[in-house]
């Protein structure tokens, strides 16, 4: 019972850790990338808990949920395409397509007229297919790999016929960089090395002692007694870091009075969120982004 449970728990945690890391590296959406990395670390936390280091595991979950959500916010602030809407329509390898499933591709905002005509044609095709798919009760976004390249590429290709499986006309917009095969080989080699180290195990010492069930108390005593100087020193350094960032972010740290006034004005009346001009490919009315599926009530009304 316990042994088989351990094997199952280990498999799930290890799978989540590895698949999360793979998804992090291959998905087109930066937001998803952050979430995948979080999932990977939560899988590692599961491994910690399996090793009876529950405090470490829970600490890991706390750090990565809170820290990564804030990190994702900063990433959204500086990224050009955090949702992967533009990248999702591009030529992707199988694994990238798998981890980017469900992303809705959009045309980039600088599409010319030709692209827009194309765009409209796609709109109709898209809505028609959606209708068809709804009749069949299928996921409307499910489509063959051939259709994929043509869909999002329509906006940036000037007048090219959008057939499946085309190349990007000299523009290498895919995520495949020349370094990637080398990185993949390197990762494989490191993985092989680790597995080899496990198989050809050196003479590790086995101890019969059971782990302390109240490990938090033990860790707390170590932190507050033996390693107190290092612990408090780290806390002090972080405090100095917080002071520094607060000082830098203050409006009064601006070099002259006019830029400070501008900053204060922005704080007082923040600029409203503008539409970024990305046109959705999926059919929708501009007034409301939501479309309630009221087929039942319509039927009753009729």
């Amino acid at each position: 019972m316990t042994a088989s449970f351990e094997i199952i728990a280990f498999s799930i945690s290890a799978f989540v850790a590895v698949a999360g890391a793979l998804g992090m590296a291959t998905t087109m959406s930066m937001f998803r990338s952050g979430i995948f990395l979080m999932a990977s670390f939560i899988g590692v936390a599961g491994l910690f808990i399996l090793l009876a280091a529950d405090l470490m595991g829970v600490l890991q979950i706390m750090m990565y949920i809170g820290g990564f959500l804030v990190m994702i916010l900063f990433m959204i602030m500086v990224m050009h395409d955090p949702g992967g809407a533009m990248m999702a329509g591009m030529d992707m390898s199988l694994i990238e397509r798998w981890f980017s499933k469900g992303l809705v591709p959009r045309a980039p905002p600088d599409g010319n007229d030709d692209g827009q005509m194309h765009h409209r044609g796609h709109k109709q095709a898209n809505s028609a297919r959606k209708q068809h798919a709804q009749e069949n009760g299928r996921d409307p976004e499910k489509r063959g790999p051939g259709h994929h390249g043509g869909k999002g590429g329509s906006g940036m290709q000037a007048g090219g016929a959008s057939h499946g499986g085309m190349d990007m006309g000299g523009m290498d917009m895919s995520m495949v960089t020349p370094v990637r095969p080398i990185a993949a080989w390197l990762a494989g080699a490191v993985g092989l090395l680790l597995v080899g180290m496990l198989v050809l195990r050196p003479n590790w010492r086995f101890v019969e002692a059971l782990p302390d069930p109240d490990s938090a108390r033990r860790v707390g005593h170590l932190l507050m007694e033996k390693y107190m100087i290092a612990f408090e020193g780290a806390g002090f350094l972080i405090l100095i870091g917080i002071f520094g960032s607060v000082l830098l972010a203050r409006p009064s740290s601006y070099p002259d009075e006019s830029s400070r006034a501008a900053r204060v004005a922005v704080d007082a009346g923040p600029e409203p969120i503008r539409d970024e001009g990305l046109r959705p490919l999926a059919e929708q009315s501009p007034a409301s982004a939501l479309r309630s599926d009221r087929r039942h009530s319509d039927e009753h009304g009729a």
Partner: protein
């Protein structure tokens, strides 16, 4: 047997919390001020959102529900009526409730409307606001009880409830608990001005699940508050589980009623309140509790 009891306790607790929240939402209504997370979502129909991320959107409520259910495991509902008495009990609760924030952020981003992404930003800001003062509200109790286990904390309050010794910590807990459960003064992520946030873009089973999760979080916060400050299931005459439920629901009513007496705060005001007032208060509370422990107040220590 243990598994069945745990599941039944989790289910009963969530159901009772949901029912009582529904009652309270009708009693504590005050004209002009928002009552709480909007209850306007349509449970009977499904909602199809164009351009939503079809994988992350259903993951949101499921992740949030997982957080609530996992946290309920360590709540002692009576002598011996606890899912699992973990050695890191209350720390585990702090960590696992973060999954609710993760779920709201996931669903908000994945719905891909302006309002829901605003809700995603606001809930992350709320996390950054409440986590540190919430930790301080727990730390005073943990210092006095000398343990992280919920059962040990309840045992330490056999003679004297911690609310009498640490009134400041109790106030801190009520305020941060309201932030954590997104109730009256701190309901920016679910405000009506952004269409109810993630509730506005959910319908059908996900709306039902959101309602369940938000009620469950409120109940959980109240139950943990009863364990930390009101002595948990300790009490004369009535059985333990009855005392626990009375204390939880009493604390829940107190929190909701006090929250309704304050004008709803914006996210920026909440952050300012949290970092400028409640973190210093939390540090002061830790200092006071340390002095009290040195003076010999509280449970006899080993």
């Amino acid at each position: 047997m243990g598994v069945i009891t745990t599941a039944a306790v989790v289910l009963i607790a969530l159901l009772a919390g949901a029912a009582l929240t529904a009652v309270l939402e009708r009693v504590f209504v005050r004209a002009g001020w928002e009552a709480g997370p909007a209850q306007t979502a349509d449970i009977r129909h499904d909602l199809e959102i164009a351009n939503s991320d079809r994988w992350l959107l259903p993951a949101g409520p499921l992740v949030a529900l997982a957080g609530v259910s996992l946290a309920t495991i360590v709540v002692p509902f009576g002598p011996g009526l606890v899912g699992r008495d973990l050695g890191i009990g209350v720390f585990y609760v702090i960590v696992v409730i973060d999954f609710v924030v993760l779920g709201i952020a996931l669903a908000g981003w994945a719905a891909n409307t302006t309002d829901s992404i605003e809700a995603c930003y606001r809930i992350i800001a709320q996390l950054a606001a409440y986590v540190v003062p919430l930790g301080f509200a727990y730390v005073g109790v943990i210092m006095m009880a000398g343990s992280l286990s919920t059962v040990a904390i309840v045992g330490a309050q056999h003679d004297l409830w911690f609310v009498i010794v640490q009134p400041l910590g109790f106030v801190l807990y009520i305020v941060t608990g309201l932030m954590q459960s997104c109730r009256a003064p701190f309901l920016e992520p679910f405000a009506a001005s952004i269409g109810g946030g993630v509730i506005g873009v959910s319908a059908g089973w996900s709306a039902l699940l959101w309602r369940f999760v938000l009620s469950g979080v409120l109940f959980l916060v109240a139950a943990i508050g009863a364990v930390l400050y009101l002595g948990g299931p300790n009490g004369p005459l009535l059985p333990g589980w009855a005392w626990m439920l009375i204390k939880s629901y009493g604390l829940m009513a107190l929190m909701l009623g006090l929250g309704r007496c304050v004008r709803p705060l914006s996210t920026a005001q909440m952050l300012a309140l949290s970092w400028k007032v409640f973190i210093p208060l939390g540090l002061l509370n830790v200092l006071l509790v340390g002095v009290l422990i040195l003076l010999g107040t509280g449970p006899s220590r080993p």
